[in-house]
């Protein structure tokens, strides 16, 4: 049952990402050229709902379904890790025109060449694993 919920949430995610075109290379290009409000509105409206929702969770000390604390652990504090890592990701995001979620949405939509990106992302993740101790964090 619980497995089905994760799949269903993923299905809704996939449909929303495709239909609102956050999985479109053209939309990402347009965003980085500041030629449309679409992507900014998408992230901005998500944040309005997200911030309000999490504040409600926190202030009512709401527990998860299983009665445990929600996973709202603060992120480890650092600058180089997020700035350098983020820049690498941004380069890839703009080149491929899709972030990790939409990459798989596009695979489902039948754009099979995106499989090359998935292979690359696995290689990149593995490279990070190997180089991790040598990188500034």
């Amino acid at each position: 049952m619980k497995r089905l919920i994760f799949i269903l949430l993923g299905v809704v995610f996939g449909i929303v990402m495709y239909k609102s075109e956050t999985a479109s290379w053209f939309r990402i290009f347009e965003m980085f050229n500041f030629q449309s409000f679409h992507m900014y509105g998408f992230i901005g409206s998500a944040l309005v709902v997200g911030v309000v929702g999490i504040q409600i969770f926190k202030r009512t000390e709401m527990k998860s379904l299983e009665g445990k604390e929600m996973d709202l652990t603060p992120k480890a504090k650092s600058i180089p890790r997020y700035l350098i890592g983020g820049t690498f990701f941004g380069l890839g995001w703009a080149l491929v025109g899709a972030c990790p979620g939409p990459i798989f949405v596009l695979l489902g939509a039948g754009m099979f060449s995106i499989g090359i990106v998935i292979i690359g992302a696995l290689v990149g993740t593995y490279l990070y694993g190997i180089l991790r101790s040598k990188l500034p964090h």
Binding site: F42, K75, I84, Y126
Partner: protein, 182 residues
Amino acid sequence: MEALMGTWPWYVGGPLIALIMLALLWIGRSFGFSSNFRTICSAVGAGKSCEFFRFDWKSQSWNLLFLVGAIIGGYIAAHYLSNNQIPPINEDTITELKSMGFASAGTAYSPTELFGEYSLRNVILLLVGGILIGFGTRYAGGCTSGHAISGLSNLQWPSLVAVIGFFIGGLLMVHVLFPLIF
């Protein structure tokens, strides 16, 4: 029905994604897509050669189910909820893209020049793009879902630093490197 088949506006898509994030928190998980890459690496045995992949990847199998759902969602959206969906991007963007050699701008969901033909150049570009995404997301500890949506919603300044990084990288790619590549 007509509205469902076209582009969903940002004020529909954005809030829905936030609700998915809140639902995952409520179920006792958290919204972060790129960690699936680490999970897959671990599942195929990367832990044998690298300590970073030695963890109980099965504890993350719920996120792999979410990934499977995302693939199914993409299939449903493209085949049953769209009729050749073409993003209505800015006319100036289309003109600019055409001058860069993207004749498919304004006529397709994704550029056929990059995704439609398996030329050596395209394979290299997509592979390099993927490597940057995999390396960068793990280095930064998250992608657009983990940082831009989850982290910022939880008012985490490290996530803001990451998102600033995303934009530094994206702007560099589009404005400095694209003129050299395309």
